[in-house]
């Protein structure tokens, strides 16, 4: 025994810059507390405590982030024996994640739009049975969704800060596993929801196997999984390039899957459609931020020196993604599926900025992520409001003539769609502008032209919805627009206002996004 302790004392515990990682620790710690709430609080009191805990945690994490960010060293801090890097892009991504998660949590917590919330009270009850019909009518929801959200958020935060591939892999799983479960928790249309969960889970596990195999090959190549070591090895050695490029390819495929970049997007439409809408909002906004944070860091950190060999391939992927998103979006008949395809197209635009590999490319992509995430949260907030007796009326034909029924909802939705299309005076335009100009400066003019063409094509399907809402006669038995409760109203307001403010006065956010580069 004494030998064991003396050995343990010889082990040097790594230094931890607690102030820098406080936001992350707060979120993960609160996730654990939240699990305890589930275990020990009586069922009827859980909702209130969970909402309070989640909101307070997010606010606290945001405050600690701001306090630290004010005088953070520009070069960034490495901590936990160098597996995490807290540099400027990390701070920006964390801020973005916290803000978006706040919006999504407001949607998740809302119990007024759908009586009792969008989540099932007991996921274990079989759909279609008597018990299921009873619980559909019963007020009360599965509050496990809150610890799951916090765990997923914590995983995302680690993911964007990870400085080595193993940490990245663990974080990837920490963020994915709760999302798989959350996808299956819808109160209505349980079959679709369960199917979404199964599909997301199987394909996600499949993709993480690729990701992991990529890590193994890169480990074989460089003898280490730290991004900096891989970069050093790639810069000048006579090791096997087969390992390097095969490993990189598989690694990137895993990341592209999470970011729903085509042709690795196949899960996106199905899962977006089947999941409960607040979860879709969380997934669409936050996962994309985390995944692109990871893509930026990996490409800049480990593979910058070999870029002329892989850039062409990622050009192809970006074009494929934009084409798939823009073209397939044209004929969708379900609002959530249509936005899913729009997210595939946007993933292509983001990839254009990510492979610019310049500081402008990084800051542009970061800004785009913030703008896109906020618009997306508000968009799904609106989608959750249009309902008929059967739950959400997400079929596009049911949206015909919505402007006559509810001009405000239709107006806000139009504005958000214009932002997604990238019309000036919205954040979407500024985002596209900074990303494309960064790409132009790093010599990718043909890609930018292609991107512009596809953004014009994509503009068409947003326009289709607007025309449908304004210029068609509403169906007689059409859906009603629910008056949103305080939570949903707040989420939509935040998203729509931010879309406007970032479109008209983007300079402050662009300054933050461009405050400093990555540290490896």
């Amino acid at each position: 025994m004494s030998g064991f302790f003396s050995q343990a004392q010889q082990l040097q515990a790594p230094d931890v810059a607690y102030q820098a990682v406080l936001p992350m620790l707060l979120v993960l710690g609160a996730a654990c507390v939240s699990v305890l709430f589930e275990a020990f609080l009586p069922r009827e009191r859980r909702w209130g405590w969970q909402v309070a805990l989640t909101v307070v945690t997010l606010a606290g994490a945001a405050i600690s982030l701001i306090v630290y960010g004010n005088d953070a060293p520009k070069a960034g801090v490495k901590t936990f024996s160098d597996v995490l890097t807290i540099d400027r892009p990390t701070l920006f991504l964390w801020g973005t994640l916290l803000l978006l998660a706040f919006g999504a949590v407001l949607l998740i917590a809302d119990r007024s739009v759908e009586p009792g919330g969008a989540f099932v009270a007991q996921a274990a009850i079989r759909p279609g049975t008597l018990q299921d019909r009873v619980q559909a009518a019963k007020v009360g929801m599965q509050t496990e969704v809150f610890p799951l959200t916090l765990f997923a958020l914590g995983g995302m935060m680690v993911f964007c800060a990870a400085n080595d591939l193993l940490t990245m892999f663990v974080a990837l799983e920490v963020l994915s596993l709760p999302l798989y479960l959350m996808a299956g928790l819808a109160r209505r249309r349980r079959l679709l929801s369960q199917e979404a969960a199964v599909k997301y889970f199987l394909l996600g596990a499949f993709a993480s196997a690729f990701f992991l195999y990529g890590i193994a090959l890169l480990y074989g190549y460089a003898g280490s999984v730290k991004l900096a070591d891989i970069a050093t090895a790639a810069a000048g050695t006579n090791r096997s390039d087969t390992l390097l490029f095969a490993g990189m390819g598989l690694l990137v495929v895993g990341l592209l899957f999470k970011a729903s970049v085509g042709p690795f997007h196949t899960w996106t439409p199905d899962v977006y459609q089947g999941s409960p809408t607040p979860v879709t909002a969380f997934m669409a906004a936050c996962t994309k931020v985390a995944a692109f944070g990871g893509i930026l860091r990996v490409l800049m950190g480990a593979f910058a020196s070999t870029n002329w060999e892989w850039r062409g391939v990622l050009w192809g992927v970006a074009i494929a993604s934009m084409a798939i998103g823009a073209v397939l979006g044209l004929t969708q008949t379900d609002v959530k599926r249509m936005i899913a395809y729009s997210s595939v197209a946007h993933a292509g635009f983001l990839l254009v900025g990510s492979i610019a590999l310049t500081s402008k490319g990084v800051s542009g992509t970061l800004f785009y992520l913030l703008a896109y995430g906020l618009t997306t949260v508000a968009t799904f907030g609106i989608v959750s409001l249009v309902r008929d007796a059967d739950g959400e009326a997400s079929h596009l034909s049911q949206w015909a003539g919505l402007a006559k029924r509810s001009p405000i909802v239709a107006g806000v939705f139009t504005f958000l769609l214009l932002a997604l299309a990238g019309i000036p005076l919205t954040s979407g335009f500024v985002g596209k502008f900074v990303v494309f100009s960064a790409a132009l400066q790093s010599g990718m003019a043909p890609l930018v032209v292609v991107a512009l063409v596809f953004s014009a094509v994509a503009a068409f399907f947003y326009l289709r919805v607007i025309v449908l809402m304004y210029f068609s006669e509403p169906a007689a038995d059409g859906p009603t627009v629910t008056v949103p409760g305080a939570f949903t109203t707040m989420a939509i307001t935040i998203g729509a206002l931010a879309t406007l403010v970032l479109g008209v006065f983007p300079s402050f956010a662009l300054d933050w996004a461009g405050a400093g580069g990555f540290t490896f």
Binding site: A123, A124, R126, P127, G128, L166, F169, V170, E173, L177, Y180, L181, G184, R190, L191, L192, Q194, E195, A196, A197, V198, K199, F201, L202, A205, F206, A209, L212, Y213, I215, A216, L217, Y219, G220, G223, S224, V225, P269, D270, Q273, G274
Partner: protein
């Protein structure tokens, strides 16, 4: 016997797993094939650790096992719930969301 045979074996196992995901219908078997892929990766990690003469790869294999175990918990829960509904574990039966 050179370590590269282990790498080859690992690649073969990974491919078998991937093909299994594509051809098997039962969700549990599909999931097992994914696990096979993960374990194939473990084999390469350990082999590379041996080649590089460092312990990192072996430690990573442990991490992968833990993560795989967590994945099993979540995955089986999801597969169970859909099995109870549909009385079938075939992944081809879950086919409502499409186009």
């Amino acid at each position: 016997m050179t370590p590269s045979y282990y790498l080859l074996l690992s690649a073969v196992l990974f491919s078998l797993g991937a093909v299994g995901v594509l051809v098997r219908r039962n969700a549990v078997v599909v999931f097992m094939c994914v696990e096979l892929m993960l374990n194939a990766v473990n084999l390469s990690l350990v082999t590379f650790a041996r080649i590089n003469g460092s312990l990192d790869g072996q430690v990573m294999a442990f991490f992968v096992m833990v993560v795989a175990a967590a994945e099993v918990v979540v995955g089986l829960a999801i597969i169970m719930s859909i099995f109870r509904t549909r009385r079938s574990a075939s992944v081809d039966d879950s086919n409502l969301l499409k186009y």
